[in-house]
């Protein structure tokens, strides 16, 4: 039996959190997470950002949207990214290990709401990928039917649709003026999605890059 855990019995080492995507070597750790520390300078880059904290918020649109973000938009706030994923649902992405803090922050902000509000840590349910670079749009267009032009999907917008047949939330989140997309999908199809994007990006010379210093 293989034992990749670095410990002999039940209570010595620290637990290791893993993304569903086999990390491109070399690897390192960020908080509890094992992450890739590869570095690519390619014009098109794909990174596994699964170690980010993810918090799901549900509530009545009229009450919550003004406090968080409009549907189909994404908003940066205090080192986290609030995404309007549906008329009554939001996803907050934050640096690794921050989900409790973010949940508390959101819960307290929404305390005055009269309708039912739910805040759940969904860090473990999703993968997050970041596709960046000049040809990111053309690569994503191969596997996503949404109009990605600046007119239809400008920086700061978001949508939920299929990417490579996997239902995903996509956020246009440019980095330093470089087109970039964050793609959040069900964890169990993470490896599939990652491979599909790497394949789509091949003609543009895609490079696999690691978990960045600046997480979000």
């Amino acid at each position: 039996m293989p034992t990749s855990t670095r410990r002999g019995n039940g209570s010595v080492a620290e637990p290791v959190a893993r993304s569903p995507i086999a990390p491109a070597g070399p690897t390192g750790t960020r908080g509890a997470w094992e992450v890739s520390s590869a570095h690519s300078k390619a014009a098109l880059r794909l990174a596994d950002m699964t170690a980010l904290s993810k918090v799901l918020v549900r509530g009545a649109p009229g009450e919550v949207a003004p406090l968080l973000c409009e549907h189909l938009r994404a908003r940066r706030e205090d080192g986290s990214l609030i995404v309007g994923t549906g008329p009554d649902s939001w996803l907050v992405l934050a640096p690794t290990g921050r989900s409790d803090a973010v949940s508390e922050m959101i819960a307290s902000r929404l305390r005055g709401c009269t309708s039912l509000v739910t805040v759940i840590d969904v860090t473990h349910g999703s993968v997050v990928l970041r596709l960046s670079g000049e040809s990111a749009r053309r690569a994503l267009e191969k596997v996503c039917a949404i109009d990605l032009s600046d007119r239809a999907t400008p920086n700061g917008s978001s949508f939920r649709s299929r990417v490579a047949a996997v239902v995903s939330t996509v956020v246009r989140d440019d980095v330093d003026g470089d087109p970039s997309y964050l793609i959040v999908s069900d964890r169990s199809s993470g490896q599939f999605l990652f491979d599909a994007l790497a394949d789509a990006g091949q003609e543009f010379g895609i490079g696999l890059t690691g978990y960045p210093e600046q997480e979000i």
Binding site: R7, P15, I120, T123, H124, S188, S189, A196
Partner: protein, 944 residues
């Protein structure tokens, strides 16, 4: 070697000097193979232009009569120019460019193109008339398979090979404001005007470069071509796709574009959602029907112009030109420039007529209407145009016949987002085509951008109408109407006489228009001949239905990358490392077993085992109305479930049919956690959302899918408590503190926020633990390590199936089917009809009042070594079906075979012995048991 009437008139090459518009690169010679012999070509040559340059006249044999065929149209639609290229069947030789080393072979010829034994069919032609096979081979019926094999030998087309690689194909989406189909002058002009108006444009051209008919036109045409190309190139907003075809325009301007010869993939399907579509596909020159019209050397005028002007090939030495329009004159001029002799021009506009062409392997003589006979090796026809209206007619618009011009036009009342321009609409000089194209492009852009003004005034749409043209369909003689299908005008006449006299019936009876060019060359003549023989007009007769694709499209391109997502649990790397046997379960790939399921069962019963049950559906339910929701969804009661407890439940559809089962636990105030079957997970989620969003809209409940958020591990077996105790500090696992059907939240192996339920499908003392997914592998490995001395081992799906059968738990969808209502499944103990309402209640009330229903029962074969295969039928008498075995296994625990089965009500009593007919035909007996459970029916082990 070229012969005319027995005289050799030319050497082997027909390549002429450089032409102003030629597309070949004389600095790059290539060699390829034609039926095994080598041939020279220039880069830019099509297969057929290279063969024509080499003096090859016969490119194929027709499939029915095996008549020799050569170049007719020199376009994609050339019916006699389908060839096999390497392992690719049915390649269009007049479109595909030569690549070095290509192995090109002719179709339908055996043993060789010149000596073809199938040609004997020509002699029996009169008996192979349309539909002959419906009239013969009727008796004796038993000989039909033999006849059929003979017919199959004459099937058309090339060959595929079982060892061909799949090839490299992919797809892409696009969202142009304006998509222009066809890159002739009108299409280019439309693209330019649309781009100038601010639209993003996709311009798609079937040929290898832009230009349409200008490419093979005169100097004026060529200079206009340069201007237009330059203007297109100057616009960054125009994406040009050449060697690409718009294959269809579907509802809501969903446009399919087949993109060929890409650097990265063989072919790519572009799926474009265009705000406006401009159809500028031009016109197709149509063949003329007369005796001998299929002989090699009979060519359309545009074919001649193309061969001379684009490929610098002289198509013949001595020509007769039959013409009804300027295109015939252009061809005659091209021939003279190419050094061929034009022996006669027969002008239909001045009463000239064409009677027949004669020759064996090709034309050697032409007989004209006045009886004159002219020796020649080339007969050029310019009989008029066909508008390829498919892309417009796909919208539902019907083509309209324009009598004056003797052609069908796209029809009226186009959808507001589809525009037509160019030759498709009418005839005119380049200026008019460009002007019309521009005006149309602008309109398309305005529609796309939803701007009413700006970018200058809307130029008037110039009048562009089909020009008058003589109605030239068929001569006084009969000839081929459909060369690909070997259908003659005589066949059509006779089909009409037999009553197949509507255009749709005549098509199906004779197969005219059903071949590779799908009527683009054939429909008009088919309709005209039918009209003539029924006494109706062409307009009354109408066309057949135009259907996509515009040009055939490979299965590879349509499939693309074939994205079929799969799902893995976090423990997948571990399963792979120990080579678990994978099983595909919906999207999930799971371990079926790790070598020996029976020993996995024994290990669970004796020690402790771990199974990865991550695919179990998991839903987080929150809100004050969750109990009402549960009461409605499940057939049993949910009002009183304490925090820290879980309960089993079954859900039925509104038809009372068992839909899913699982357990739900009460985690905290207004907080529940539901599990569903793996296969039911997404359907149940959708079903619940449906109730909440459409019926119980005022209930306060939030449902969150958590299936992938937790790695789920069932720790089962007598040692499971001890194993967990070693890794869990913050939960009291003692039998009294944490009872059967309870749930706790705690930390396992240092991983916080784990859920532990004390439940079990296996019938053992067991804990289902749900671990935050990223730690799943870590915890699994920790359990394995910590339990080494307890005999811990993994078990797979198969061992679990055996154990649940030992316990008599049914599996929804296996032990039940699409009609199994709750009482049939034996759920009398669970269904609470005294609840006021729940999904499916009315049907279950009525089912409870019936007594004749099938029942699910436990069964044990009389012979304990016999394991009747699942789906074996339970029978009475000779062949009366009384039920079936739904689950069946050999129980390693009991050392005997055990089953579940569905039987009719009168056999459902304990002790009844039923007869089971196995697939091999043998009959065995089995006893109906008191309980579904074969093992530990009282459940002492799991409560322990």
């Amino acid at each position: 070697m070229i012969r005319i009437g027995g005289r050799v008139v030319a050497g082997p090459t027909r390549r002429i000097g450089p032409q102003p518009g030629e597309v070949i690169d004389r600095s790059r010679s290539l060699t390829f193979y034609w039926n095994g012999a080598s041939r020279a070509a220039y880069d830019g040559d099509t297969i057929s232009s290279a063969l024509a340059a080499a003096g090859d006249r016969v490119l194929s044999r027709s499939f029915k009569y095996h008549r020799p065929r050569g170049i007719l149209t020199a376009t994609f639609h050339d019916p006699g120019c389908l060839v096999q290229v390497d392992d690719e069947p049915n390649v269009r030789a007049s479109h595909r460019q030569v690549a070095a080393g290509m192995d090109v072979r002719a179709l339908h010829s055996w043993p060789s193109l010149r000596f073809d034994v199938g040609a004997a069919n020509q002699a029996v032609g009169p008996f192979l008339s349309a539909g002959f096979y419906y009239k013969t081979f009727i008796k004796p019926q038993r000989l039909w398979p033999a006849y059929e094999r003979v017919l199959q030998r004459f099937a058309a087309g090339g060959r595929v090979s079982a060892s061909s690689p799949h090839g490299d194909y992919d797809k892409r989406f696009a969202h142009p404001d304006v998509l222009v189909a066809g890159g002739g002058p009108a299409g280019m002009a439309a693209a330019i005007a649309a781009a100038e108006a601010g639209a993003e444009v996709m311009l798609v051209e079937e040929e290898h470069e832009l230009g349409g008919h200008l490419r093979y036109g005169d100097e004026v045409a060529l200079s206009r071509l340069q201007e237009l190309r330059a203007a297109v190139a100057a616009h960054e907003q125009i994406e040009v796709l050449t060697n690409s075809a718009v294959t269809g325009r579907y509802d809501d301007n969903w446009v399919a574009v087949l993109q060929r010869s890409m650097p990265h993939v063989t072919e790519r399907l572009v799926k474009a959602r265009a705000k406006s579509v401009v159809v500028a596909v031009g016109l197709i020159e149509r063949p003329y029907v007369f005796e001998g019209n299929d002989l090699p050397g009979v060519m359309l005028s545009s074919a001649v112009s193309r061969l001379v002007n684009l490929y610098a090939v002289r198509p013949g030495e001595r020509a007769v030109v039959f013409t009804g329009n300027q295109s015939g004159e252009a061809a005659a001029a091209a021939l003279e420039r190419a050094g061929a002799e034009v022996a006669a021009v027969v002008d239909a506009r001045r009463g000239g007529a064409l009677l027949r062409a004669r020759g064996r392997g090709g034309v050697t003589e032409v007989e004209t209407g006045d009886g004159a006979r002219v020796e020649c090796d080339l007969l050029v026809t310019a009989a008029g145009w066909t508008a390829p209206t498919l892309l417009v007619n796909m919208t539902g618009v019907k083509p309209r016949y324009c009598d004056r011009a003797a052609r069908f036009v796209p029809g009226d009342d186009l959808p507001s987002d589809v525009f037509a321009t160019g030759g498709l609409v009418g005839d005119g000089d380049v200026d008019l085509l460009v002007e019309h194209g521009r005006a149309t492009g602008l309109r398309a852009a305005r529609r796309a951008l939803e701007t009413l003004d700006g970018h200058g005034p809307l130029t008037a749409l110039p009048r562009l109408e089909p020009a008058d043209h003589p109605a030239l369909f068929r001569s006084r003689t009969h000839g081929f109407v459909d060369l690909s299908e070997d259908v003659s005008s005589k066949d059509l006449v006779s089909a009409a006489q037999e009553g197949y006299d509507s255009v749709e019936l005549v098509k199906r009876y004779t197969t005219a228009t059903m071949g590779p060019s799908q009527g683009k060359l054939e429909t008009i003549n088919t309709v005209a001949v039918l009209a003539e023989s029924t006494g109706r007009t062409v307009a009354e007769t109408g066309t057949t239905v135009w259907r996509p694709p515009h040009v055939p499209i490979s299965l590879g391109a349509l499939a693309g990358r074939n994205l079929e997502p799969v799902r893995y649990s976090p423990m997948q790397p571990w399963h792979e490392a120990v080579r678990a046997r994978p099983i595909v379960a919906g999207q999930w790939i799971r371990p079926e077993h790790y070598g020996d399921p029976a020993s996995e069962v024994r290990n669970v019963r004796e020690n402790v085992g771990l199974i990865d049950v991550t695919p179990l559906g998991k839903l987080d339910l929150r809100g004050p109305d969750v109990p009402r929701l549960l009461n409605f969804l499940y057939v049993n009661k949910w009002s009183k479930l304490d925090i820290g407890s879980v309960r089993y439940g079954v859900m039925c559809g509104e038809d009372g049919v068992v839909a899913d089962d699982g357990v739900t636990g009460h985690l905290g105030p207004d907080h529940y956690f539901m599990s569903t079957t793996s296969s039911g997970a997404s359907a149940i989620y959708e079903w619940i959302e449906n109730w909440l969003q459409t019926t119980f809209t005022d209930w306060s409940v939030h449902v969150t899918e958590m299936t992938s958020a937790f790695a789920s591990i069932n720790v089962a077996g007598p040692n499971s408590r001890e194993l967990l105790r070693r890794l869990v500090d913050d939960v009291d696992l003692g039998p009294d503190a944490f009872k059967y059907m309870q749930v706790r939240q705690g930390t396992i192996a240092g991983v916080a926020n784990c859920l532990m339920w004390r439940i079990g499908f296996t019938g053992e003392l067991s804990y289902e633990v749900h671990v935050p997914a990223a730690f799943g592998l870590y915890v699994w490995e920790a359990l394995m390590a910590a339990g080494a001395d307890l005999g811990v081992g993994p078990f797979g799906l198969e061992a679990q199936r055996i154990m649940r059968l030992e316990k008599g738990h049914f599996i929804v969808g296996q032990d039940t089917d699409g009609l199994t209502q709750a009482f049939t499944a034996g759920l009398d103990w669970l269904v609470k009809l005294d609840k006021e309402d729940f999904a499916g209640r009315p049907e279950l009330v009525w089912q409870s009042e019936r007594s004749d229903e099938l029942r699910l029962v436990g069964l044990q074969p009389t012979d304990p070594t016999v394991v009747p295969p699942e789906a074996s039928q339970i029978v009475s008498g000779a062949n009366e079906i009384e039920g079936r075995v739904t689950s069946s296994r050999f129980s390693p625990t009991l050392g005997r075979s055990i089953c579940l089965g569905i039987v009719s009500a009168d056999l459902a009593h304990a002790g009844t012995v039923v007869t089971v007919k196995q697939p091999d035909g043998t009959r065995v007996t089995a006893r109906v048991m008191e309980e579904h459970a074969h093992f530990d029916p009282a459940g002492e082990r799991l409560r322990g």
